[in-house]
Symmetry: C3
Subunit: 243 residues, 3 copies
């Protein structure tokens, strides 16, 4: 772990920066997890906006500091707004994250995910099946699972923090994507932003699990941890590895 | 506080009346907070209905005792159903509340909010930015924030109850609007209905915060408080002021 | 209760089978309860999918082990996807459950519910008003309320487990439908699958209520119970009756 101390210290600094800056993050995300995502960002001190309405998307993206693009519960209207929003983000050089939810389950969704990936997200985040199906080759790639793995070019990082109950709470992966997007608003280095955000989720899950009786109570305790965890605790609890 | 004792006592009576009458409140609200809103009303003893389907709206409004119109996650279909529902409410003299969510962020949403405001809500509720953008001049106006402020004609009331974690739980403002709508079903005086509802939310937040470790656990504890708080506790914990 | 010991033991076995098999259950359900439904199934060890997109529904139904069809927040798009999905389920002999939410409140929804009922769900679940309006005469019928009642042909069963706070948590009925659908994936006998699922919900509610301060905290504690309750506890706490 010694070799990773600077990265852990940097993560602590970025957490403090997110809470201080209070960035506005526009979340194009699936209807299932909108409230949980907004609650997670609000707990962290971020200001989430959530509209998926095509007529309004320009006004909301124009005020955002970063953006989340999550492909869950995808339909025709959602595809149109995602196409417009990612083009606007490119024009504004707004950093954004792509979460290709369930792209391995539907050829139509995979094709759409490829077309959005081509627009250049700073980070792509998915589980093992999603990342294997999409095979992103540019930007920072975050593959979450029992161990979370990050890569960018030749850089590699494994984050060992977390708790198995996380997999039983719908939307923790989606929230993870939104938290990474939030950290993109305070760091021009997408790899370190993603590392800090994923570390925050894993450490918060450990803190929350110690107070919980199962995945049901884990969820509110996780939000408490996102709101209250000290940056120094984030650094001291970090379990990082290359691999 | 002495001068406000009758108002606090009236709020306690209205809370008891809501639980006794169990009004049916139709909620046209954004997809993000539908479950939290329905849970809050159910905890309170109110029967929420939530459909936004144009074909069905007549049947649901026809059975409602009050209505919530919240402009979050607004799209074309939602605009159409809101226009129809507010016209039906006018014909039936059904009391309703307008919550012009994020109307300050999008010119298209602000214009729509003005057109709906013209149809005569009993109460308009928003945060400072929303109320400043919309500038409602009729009915009761509730501006929620660190201090909640009510006005109607020349009447003024400030409610000092509440807790900062409320601002970190997505949808507490939206739920506040739904709770006010519920109280409109038991009082023809919109100002006192709104005062009672806002007071209930603030006192419940204080009761909940004492049991919580952050905004995550505040949310379920807030619902518990809405379900279990005694009317007499509501009156005794009230902190009211003109201001 | 003696005469029901085999049924309670069978329910315990089916709970163990669900957790072992981890079936994939596709949920066509209303937007209000999608997250709570997915969380409940995930807690139980089931893999929920939730898309309502017509273009993707074939791919998702094609991989599912059972399906939930819930008529809440019904609109034109949702009607179309339900028609397609139930036809596909018929072709694939995939077991599915119909939950005709609020069909008693809207003639248009009742007519649609009848057309879907004609496609042969293994189980129909509703509250007293919904079952009275729909009057299903084939398959297993579950009427949930203070006492949950099951019937299939001449078979009758009453399940006395549960807690009044359940009625104040939006979506416990909808979750109940999703849990029944999950048990259909591990038993070809729809009546015993439904009995096991309804028993699990009722016993879990009792376990959760003992740790809760109201309906707000009941919800996360219910999810904990779904994740952690021992099959033997399910059998020993069962309160069954013919009636």
């Amino acid at each position: 772990m010694t070799g990773f101390a600077p990265l852990a210290a940097r993560a602590a600094d970025l957490l403090a920066a997110v809470r201080r800056k209070r960035p506005r993050v526009h979340c194009l995300t699936n209807t299932v997890v909108q409230k949980f995502t907004a609650d997670g960002l609000s707990a962290l001190g971020v200001i989430p906006t959530m509209t998926s309405n095509l007529e309004e998307i320009g006004a909301f993206v124009g005020r955002a500091d970063a953006m989340l693009v999550n492909l869950g519960t995808l339909d025709r209207d959602r595809r149109a707004v995602i196409e417009t929003a990612t083009s606007l983000a490119g024009e504004r050089r707004l950093p954004w994250l792509l979460d290709p939810v369930h792209c391995e389950l539907s050829p139509s969704r995979l094709a759409f995910a490829h077309s959005i990936l081509a627009k250049g997200p700073a980070v792509t985040r998915g589980n093992t099946a999603e990342i294997a199906a999409l095979a992103p080759s540019t930007g920072t790639v975050v593959e979450t699972g029992e161990i979370d793995r990050l890569r960018s070019g030749s850089a590699r990082l494994a984050i060992l923090n977390g708790h198995p109950w996380m997999a039983q709470v719908t939307g923790t992966g989606c929230l993870s994507g939104a938290v990474i997007a939030s950290f993109l608003a305070v760091s021009a280095d997408a790899f370190e932003a993603a590392a800090a955000a994923v570390l925050l989720m894993g450490v918060s899950a450990e803190v929350a699990a110690a107070k919980s009786g199962g995945p049901g109570t884990l969820a509110p305790n996780l939000l408490d941890a996102l709101a209250t965890i000290e940056p120094s605790t984030l650094a001291s609890m970090a379990r990082l590895s290359d691999a």
